[in-house]
């Protein structure tokens, strides 16, 4: 089963993401801050990471950069309220594979 790691600090959004991804048939792991997310990634080796940009302890961009620096090839989907072009470019430059802007629809996310 495809393993997905969701790293999101807002409990409501995290709950919605986890439920919907499980509904799609993924094995879902959740973390609420950057450092916890990094530990989960090391532990569970997910096939996909859904990563919020604004996180406590270590933010999404830093985590993404760190994972890519360690040679991790796992696809990363950035998830953020920020929609500025510069944020998107920065995220993609740091190694994100895609970018989903809040508020997003379930169809957009699972597509």
């Amino acid at each position: 089963m495809t393993k997905v790691l969701v790293i999101e600090d807002d409990p409501a959004i995290l709950r919605g993401l986890v439920d919907n991804l499980k509904f799609e048939g993924y094995e879902v792991h959740a973390a609420t801050d950057g450092e916890a997310g990094y530990r989960y990634q090391q532990m569970h080796k997910p096939d996909l990471i859904v990563l919020d940009l604004m996180l406590p302890r270590m933010n999404g961009l830093e985590l993404c950069k760190k994972l890519r620096a360690e040679g991790l090839q796992t696809p990363i989907v950035m998830l953020t309220a920020k929609s500025e072009e510069s944020d998107r470019v920065l995220g993609l430059d740091l190694g994100a594979d895609d970018y989903v802007t809040k508020p997003f629809s379930i169809r957009e996310l699972v597509a």
């Binding site: 600090d9 807002d10 409990p11 409501a12 959004i13 709950r15 919605g16 993401l17 439920d19 919907n20 509904f23 604004m54 996180l55 406590p56 302890r57 933010n59 309220a81 920020k82 929609s83 500025e84 809040k102 508020p103 997003f104 629809s105 379930i106 169809r107």
Partner: protein, 622 residues
């Protein structure tokens, strides 16, 4: 952005401070240079004028003396009173005999003694010196005195008589004779120009050390302007043994007279050299120069030589510390046309360039003041610009934060609405939870919008508080209810303590609830890994106190004064979502109720925020 801002600030400093400062300094230096130049020119002109004026005044004075003396000479030539020059500056006027100066005090030649007197004097000397017959000698000298036809002969005979009487052992008679001589022989001089009275005084001093003799010498020294050199030396020698202040002064006087006489003798010897110069100008002679001028005349009048003391003549024209000196004196300068060999020596610093130096500190102080003002203005400008820049950055951050804060509940609402619409809810319980989440997220959204709207009204001064009697206990309970869901969702335990006896008082219940919600919301955000929050309503010292305490990350003491500023977010909150408005609204609400907000916080140990509202004790209990 920061680099551009910094560069802009430096440009601003350059334009506002460095350029004007540089221009000012340049301008001031130029002014100082011009001032110094002007001062130098002025000092040089002043110097030139002083020399010219001194020359003019001295010439006028000397010519006046000369004219006065020529008139005197024409009226009464060879007047005996010429021994006492009427002008104090005039040393003497001498007639010229060929190239020789005939000094006014010189005797007109030795007059031959009368034959009878000469004979008797010789006889007396034979008796006195060869035969040692002093009694006979006394008699012969007495006869010589009787035979004398002129005063010098009489005085000489008296002197001889006194001498031989003293040799014969008499003491009283010689003293009487010498006393008489001091009175009667003052104007009688011998062939050397020495007065006989001085010989008498000398003998009185040698034999009896008589005070009267000293007094006579002192009086004569002060009275007679020109004392022949031999006489002057004798007086100086005799005064050595005299005591008293008068004698001391007389010794000084005689020393001056001797010096003057030496100078006269020197002038007499050098006159052939001085004369050509003195014929067309005033020629200086001597170390304390005399000014010599020759006025040629047609016979029978003799040409005259005027000798004037430069010091006395210039006493009014020369400043006290300046002096007229001989031309070779160091640090002196020629007095100019009309004088040969005469220099003036000014006191050091008389014509120093002072104006420039004096105004330099003034300019420096002026520049320092203007620079100070410019720097202050630049500092204030930079501070304002920095504040504006900071405010602009905070506003930009605020917009992004609000956007994020709005989108987060919106995302949740949309996601759960989508989930429900797509029939993805596993069961009824999940569906119910999703709906509850939508409601709670909507409330969260409302609170956020309320905060932003309240802030907007506060900013515009349009925020109106509806003050009605309200129970703070109810307000606190309502806030707790509103926060139950998010608290529970994030696993927080909220310890609530309410003083139920608190009286109702006029307050805006909605605003107070908003303030409590903001404090609770902040407590959750900044709790870190801690999951316990205390909410307490109590009263103390006439105040209602609402306290919210977390055990989270705390606030750096340096940042505490700024946390109520609008848009301000502490450094430790960078990774925590927020708008920077919550505490601004809390403080405004507290102030609107006549109260205040206090914060106690330790980094790493949590924070306690207290809203303290003064409560009137006359209000009825709730």
């Amino acid at each position: 952005m920061a680099y551009r801002t910094r560069a802009r600030q430096w440009l601003l400093i350059l334009i506002a401070v460095l350029l004007p400062a540089g221009l000012l300094i340049g301008l001031a230096r130029r002014l100082i240079r011009q001032e110094s130049e002007l001062a130098r020119t002025r000092a040089a002109e002043e110097h030139r004028n002083a020399v010219d004026q001194l020359g003019r005044e001295l010439t006028a004075r000397l010519e006046a003396i000369k004219l006065q003396e020529i008139n005197r000479w024409i009226r009464v030539p060879a007047v005996p009173g010429a021994h006492q020059p009427p002008d104090a500056a005039l040393v003497f006027v001498a007639a010229l005999d060929g190239d020789r100066m005939v000094l006014p005090w010189e005797s007109s030649g030795v007059v031959a003694s009368s034959p009878g007197f000469v004979d008797l004097r010789r006889q007396g000397e034979v008796l006195e010196f060869l035969e040692k017959n002093w009694i006979a000698a006394v008699d012969v000298y007495r006869r010589a005195r009787d035979a004398a036809r002129r005063r010098p002969e009489t005085c000489e005979a008296m002197l001889l008589q006194g001498r031989v009487l003293a040799k014969s052992g008499r003491t009283k008679e010689p003293a009487v004779i010498y006393h008489t001589m001091m009175k009667d022989c003052d104007a009688a001089v011998d062939e050397h120009g020495m007065t006989f009275s001085l010989y008498a005084a000398e003998r009185l001093i040698e034999s009896r050390n008589e005070r009267a003799a000293y007094d006579y010498i002192i009086e004569r020294t002060n009275r007679v302007r020109w004392i022949p050199l031999y006489e002057a030396y004798l007086i100086r020698s005799l005064l050595k043994s005299a005591g008293g202040r008068q004698a001391e002064l007389a010794r000084d006087t005689i020393s001056r007279r001797i010096a003057e006489m030496d100078q006269v003798i020197g002038l007499t010897r050098q006159f052939h050299r001085v004369r050509p110069l003195a014929e067309d100008a005033w020629a200086a002679y001597g170390p304390e120069p005399w000014l010599i001028s020759v006025a040629p005349a047609e016979p029978p009048l003799p040409s005259l030589v005027f000798v004037v003391s430069s010091e006395a003549a210039s006493s009014k024209a020369v400043p006290p510390s300046a002096a007229l000196v001989a031309k070779d004196t160091p640090n002196s300068e020629p007095l100019g046309d009309g004088f040969h060999g005469l220099n003036v020596k000014w006191p050091p610093g008389q014509f120093d360039v002072r104006a420039g130096a004096a105004s330099t500190p003034l300019y420096a102080a002026g520049i320092a003041f203007i620079l100070g003002v410019t720097i202050l203005a630049a500092y204030l400008l930079l501070r304002d610009v920095n504040r504006d820049l900071r405010m602009a950055e905070m506003r930009a951050h605020f917009v992004a934060s609000v956007s994020h804060e709005l989108k987060t509940p919106l995302t949740a609402i949309r996601m759960f609405a989508d989930t429900l619409a797509l029939g993805r809810a596993r069961d009824e319980r999940a569906r119910s939870e999703y709906l509850e989440t939508i409601v709670n997220e909507s409330e969260r959204l409302s609170r956020l919008v309320d905060n932003v709207l309240d802030f907007s009204k506060i900013e515009q001064g349009k925020k109106i508080y509806q003050m009605q009697p309200a129970s703070l206990a109810d307000v606190v309970r309502s806030a707790v209810r509103a926060m139950q869901y998010p608290l529970a969702q994030q696993g927080f335990t909220l310890n609530v303590s309410i003083d139920e006896n608190m009286r109702a008082f006029p307050a805006d219940a909605d605003a107070m609830e908003q303030a409590i919600l903001n404090l609770l919301s902040n407590a959750m955000k900044y709790s870190g890994s801690a999951r316990q929050i205390d909410l307490c309503l109590k009263s103390a010292a006439g105040e209602a106190i609402i306290e919210v305490t977390d055990r989270g990350i705390g606030i750096d003491p340096r940042e505490q004064p700024r946390i109520f500023e609008k848009f301000y977010r502490s450094g430790s909150s960078e990774r925590i979502a927020g708008t920077g408005l919550g505490l601004t609204v809390v403080e405004h609400v507290a102030h609107a109720h006549g109260g205040r907000v206090e914060v106690r916080s330790l980094t790493g140990q949590g924070s306690t925020f207290s809203i303290r509202i003064p409560v009137s004790t006359s209000e009825a209990p709730a």
